[in-house]
Symmetry: C2
Subunit: 216 residues, 2 copies
C-alpha cells in the first residue's frame, strides 16, 4: 500500500533527524541510520536514491520548522523594531535550546550538497527579515537603508554570535540544564537593533581616510 510506503519513508526521515539532532550530520551514516530505524542498509536505498538526497531533505525539513517559527514571530503586530527583536529572540532561544541541531544547521562542516541547502536556509531567513525591515522603512519606523543587506548582516551577526556557545555546548552533554548565557542573546539583539535603527553614519571622514590608505 502507498500509505505504508510513505509512512516508512517518514519514519526514516524522522530517525535521520534524530541522529542529526543528537550528533550532527557527521552522525548521519547509512549503517547508523539503518540500525536506528530498524532496517537494513539496502532498504534505505529503496526510499532515497543517495545519501546526499536524504541529508538534504533532513536539512530542508529542520529548516522549514525553524524558518516557520521565525516567520510566525514576525507576524506579531508591533512596531518593526520590536517585531524584529522578538523574532531574533525566538531564533536564538530555539537555537540554544537545541544546540546540536542548531550547530548542525548553522556551522557544522558538512558535505557540499548539504552546504548548498544551508545557503538557501540563510537566504530564507534573510528574506524574512528583509521584508520586515522594508515594511519598517516604508512606515518610517526605520531609517532608509538597504533592507536586503541589513537583513543579511543580521543573519550573519546572530549566527556568528551563536557559533561559539553552540560549538561549546554541542560538544558536551546535552540535557543537563546548560543554560548558556542568555545575555548573549540580548546583546546580539541590541547590536542588530542599533544597526537597523540608527541614523546613517556620515561617511565623509571614513572615505577620506580610506582614500589616503587605499594602497595597502
Amino acid at each position: 500500500m502507498r500509505d505504508r510506503k510513505a509512512a516508512t519513508r517518514e519514519h526514516l526521515l524522522i530517525c535521520a533527524q534524530q541522529l542529526v539532532a543528537s550528533a550532527g550530520f557527521s552522525g548521519l551514516q547509512m549503517q547508523q541510520l539503518a540500525n536506528h530505524a530498524g532496517v537494513a542498509t539496502g532498504t534505505l536505498y529503496r526510499y532515497f536514491p543517495a545519501k546526499e538526497q536524504l541529508a538534504a531533505e533532513v536539512f530542508k525539513r529542520a529548516t522549514r520548522i525553524e524558518v516557520a517559527q521565525v516567520a510566525q514571530a514576525l507576524t506579531v503586530s508591533a512596531a518593526a523594531p520590536a517585531q524584529i527583536a522578538h523574532a531574533l529572540n525566538v531564533f536564538a532561544q530555539r537555537a540554544l535550546r537545541a544546540p546540536t541541531l542548531a550547530w548542525a544547521l548553522i556551522a557544522e562542516p558538512v558535505e557540499a550538497a548539504v552546504d548548498q541547502q544551508r545557503l538557501q536556509f540563510r537566504q530564507q531567513y534573510a528574506e524574512l527579515f528583509a521584508t520586515s525591515i522594508q515594511r519598517g522603512i516604508d512606515n518610517q519606523q526605520l531609517p532608509a537603508q538597504n533592507a536586503q543587506l541589513s537583513s543579511t548582516a543580521i543573519v550573519g551577526a546572530i549566527a556568528e554570535a551563536l557559533i561559539g556557545p553552540l560549538a561549546q555546548v554541542s560538544r558536551h552533554t546535552e540535557a543537563n540544564t546548560p543554560q548558556p548565557s542568555t545575555t548573549v542573546v540580548d546583546d546580539i539583539v541590541q547590536f542588530c537593533l542599533r544597526g537597523l535603527l540608527a541614523a546613517p553614519y556620515s561617511t565623509a571622514t571614513t572615505h577620506r581616510l580610506i582614500q589616503e590608505n587605499a594602497d595597502d
Copy 2:
C-alpha cells in the same frame, strides 16, 4: 642541509596555498599537490605527518596574512568609528579581490580539522575589532556596549554579506575583472557602524512583547 629542507617545506606550502587559492580546499589533494610541486606523493609525507596538518598550516598562513592586514588597518590613528570602517573596507576589498581564497577561508565546506582553524581565524578578527571598540568606548567615541559581542557580530555580518558574492564569483572565472558590487561593501560597513555607534535601543517594549509571546 637544514636550509634545503626548510626551503622545500616552504615550497610545498606555497604550492598548497596556490592550489587553495585557485580551487579551494577541495582542490588541495595530495596527488594534485605533488604534481603541482614537482615531487612524488611520498615526499609530501616527509614534510607533513598528514594532510590534516598540511591543510591546517595552509589555512593558518593565509589567515595570518589577512589578519595582519586588518590589524594594520586598525592602527591608522583616527576616531574609532573611522578606524573600524577602514578596517572593514580593507577586509572586504581584499576578499573580493581574491574571491576563491576568501571563500575557502570563510565559507567553503572543509574537513573538521580545518574548520577548527576557521573558528580561531574568526576569533582573531573578533579580538582585533573588540580591542578597537573597547578603545572607542573608553574614549567616548562609541556608546557603552559589549565590545566582544559587537565585534563578533561585525565579523559575522561582514562574512555573511560576502558569502553570496564570493560563492558566485569563485565558481566562475577568476581574473576577468569581475568587480562585484563595491556597493555591498559600503552597505555592510554602514550597517556595522550604525550597530556600533547608535544609542542603545530601549528594550522596554521589546521585552513586554517577548514575555507575552514567550510560549511559542
